[in-house]
Symmetry: C2
């Protein structure tokens, strides 16, 4: 955020007379305070001696992001339980917001009218929006996919909607994030035939999104798909690189495949992507996955994991997760993690946090979320420092030696449980939804 | 809070060898950092020319309180949705915590072991605890009252408990609040026979509490009861003044009687209380009630109103309450209240707050609570300034001319609804309980 001022420009005198998106979309009250013509810039500052890990700097109209970076998820224009001041104090430099959710509620036009997503949610740092595709395929009902796009029913009220490449570009323009995504189709990773079909659509949609892209202050990323199939991943990376996007996302991972399969796909995909452009691994946030993926050259991550875990009383420590509801914490005066510098650990005991969770107090979710997001941000800081000092692989080894990894079967079962909750609206708890 | 340092003393060398409450209660880990022998001090700085309103200063071992003051309620050792830093930034100088709730969960011994309530909840300012009596009579099941005390079943798990004067004094000692209360019985305000019986017990219990009171750093208040019966109120005030408490609470009001009845009782009671001691009106927090009660000489107030309203999307403004869920706020870029200096109003629009409530986002409850508590704290600041400048009555008139008062019938219906929710455990929503 140091150079944020550099990117802040007063509106040009004729902006109000000819606001480009006002004219196109008929949005009134559109009054974005930032420069509208500064593109994203990315530079690799250093590549690790012993791995593909790299230290980088991503400059957006709303500030700089030191990479590798982790973006907490602000699904509905708020990182659950936190406010923008919390995010700044935690050192968060990028957040993700979900196009699907914001399109349905409060609506992209409402957000544009309120000055865009940054102003609406009071977060003046960089924002990334996904295309909405992932939620359509994971959350919405009655999907009908054609080459033109996807029709679906809202998970909120059953209303019918259509997402086309042009539509999701328009929605993301209205939201006004710094980094935006092409519409893609995330297929079941092991289904070859479905992945072939979905990949053809994903590529056609990427081209259509590229053609529909207008706001020069928004950097549009292409999304590599292809399930767990090396040739499809290769085909996808090569096709998208041909379209010359300013950045590349890798999608369709962490959706049911094993960690080995995920890393194998990265091993195939990343080397095909241009070295001078940022690489974003979508939806991945387990510390062990981040470390392995950084080693393969990934620059950006996002995941609901730290925030969702927090609301379920699962707190991240370098020794693994602890569930703070556990009876053994009833009279434990220690902080969640010794030596942690987060607001929660500096002021409150495990005993207090346990009490708040048992009593279902709102402060429980906030303090736990602060701790878990701090854990992720601190992990990324350590990763960057290790790369800068040419000791990334030894840092990774040391971290993984202490950090117990949740077995694949447990993760798969948890994913299934979440899916079941989503399928029945009554099962969607306030704390658990995102 | 300015003089807080003045009251901070290192533990005397022999404290660890002979900790007075450790010895008595067998509590280990008791390590209270504050002075243990400083009593409360109260001084009236100015009495209004045209009313009984007065400006005062209440000094406690954990800081000063400018009076008239409003204390937000932290039922379960947290003011719902806020953290201690929020409270400090809002200018809160006193909070109330509920002995009944904390006794049941996490338990007074647990809190004492964690260093007392201040340290447990990370709030180093003054705390007031009630005796638990009010919740026993409003929340617990299967009550049996005798002259010795009251037996009841926990609203959480049905477990059986007994509160006697000695027991509630011991619990409040373990919690360690600065201002503590005698056990009292809050009767239905219009029932003469019940009030006579209850008053006799309340007086006997007050005497027993006074005898059981030990910690010199805790100021024990007597509680005047007597329903809406002038002679009972007079009898109660005179009896308790005879016991020479350092402060007096007025209980059994705002529990179903009309505003006129409440003010009539204050008009009878307050003149009987010593002028040099603080007067605390329990459970009263509607702005119009505060103004009228300040005019009759009340110094302290507490109420769940601002925090409970906030969680129900009802926001306080000088023009009355607004419900932020209302469709008319969908595209409203204005803050909740123009000119308000709270964090919510300085950073967010009504449109955003409405969105958060519609989306059931946790941040909604936090921002709304910040605004409503700020409203109350700012109101008290204005009241104190008006008294200081001998214009309290005109300030009161001006305020009430703009602020619509909720009719008695609506308030009574709301109270009934809350009672019904409490009676059925499934109806106790997280947001609504306190």
């Amino acid at each position: 955020m140091k150079n944020r001022k550099l990117w802040t420009r007063p509106l040009s005198p004729d902006f109000k007379a000819h606001p480009p998106w006002f004219a196109v979309h008929g949005v009134s009250g559109y009054n974005r305070p930032m420069a509208l013509t500064m593109p994203m810039a990315f530079s690799v500052l250093r590549t690790d001696r012993d791995s593909q890990a790299r230290l980088g700097r991503l400059i957006t109209p709303h500030g700089e992001i030191a990479t590798p970076a982790f973006a907490p998820v602000g699904t509905q224009a708020t990182v659950k339980a936190l406010d923008p001041r919390d995010l700044r104090e935690l050192g968060v430099e990028l957040i993700l917001a979900n196009t699907y959710h914001l399109y349905l509620r409060p609506g992209a036009e409402v957000i544009a009218e309120m000055g865009g997503l940054h102003r609406f949610m009071g977060w003046e740092g960089p924002i990334l929006t996904d295309s909405g595709g992932f939620q359509v395929f994971s959350l919405a009902a009655n999907r009908t996919v054609t080459d033109e796009g996807v029709a679906f029913r809202s998970h909120l009220d059953g209303s019918l909607h259509v997402f086309t490449p042009e539509k999701v570009m328009r929605i993301q323009e209205l939201l006004g994030a710094d980094l935006i995504m092409c519409l893609d189709e995330c297929a079941e990773p092991h289904d070859r035939a479905y992945n072939e079909q979905a990949l053809a659509r994903t590529h056609a949609w990427a081209e259509a999104c590229r053609n529909a892209h207008r706001r020069p202050d928004q950097a549009l990323f292409g999304i590599v798909q292809g399930g767990i199939f090396p040739d499809l991943r290769q085909q996808s990376a090569e096709f998208l690189v041909g379209l010359d996007f300013p950045g590349y996302a890798i999608g369709g991972l962490s959706v049911g495949e094993t960690k080995e399969e995920m890393q194998a796909m990265l091993g195939i995909t990343v080397p095909l992507l241009p070295a001078n452009k940022p690489r974003y691994l979508m939806g991945v946030g387990a510390p062990e996955d981040i470390l392995e993926s950084v080693a393969r050259g990934i620059d950006l991550f996002d995941c609901v994991l730290p925030t969702r875990l927090a609301r379920n009383a699962a707190l991240l420590t370098r020794q693994g997760r602890i569930n703070i509801r556990n009876a053994r914490f009833e009279r434990d005066p220690a902080p969640v993690e010794e030596g942690c510098r987060c607001y929660c650990c500096r002021h409150f005991s495990r005993a207090y946090l346990r009490h708040l969770f048992k009593a279902e107090e709102l402060l429980a979710y906030r303090l736990a979320t602060i701790h878990n997001v701090h854990f992720m941000i601190a992990l990324m800081q350590d990763i960057r420092e290790a790369i800068a000092q040419d000791r990334f692989l030894s840092f990774k080894e040391q971290f993984l030696a202490r950090y117990p990894i949740i077995p694949h079967e447990v993760r798969a079962a948890n994913r299934e449980k979440r899916g079941a909750r989503r399928a029945t609206p009554s099962g969607m708890s306030r704390a658990g939804r995102s």
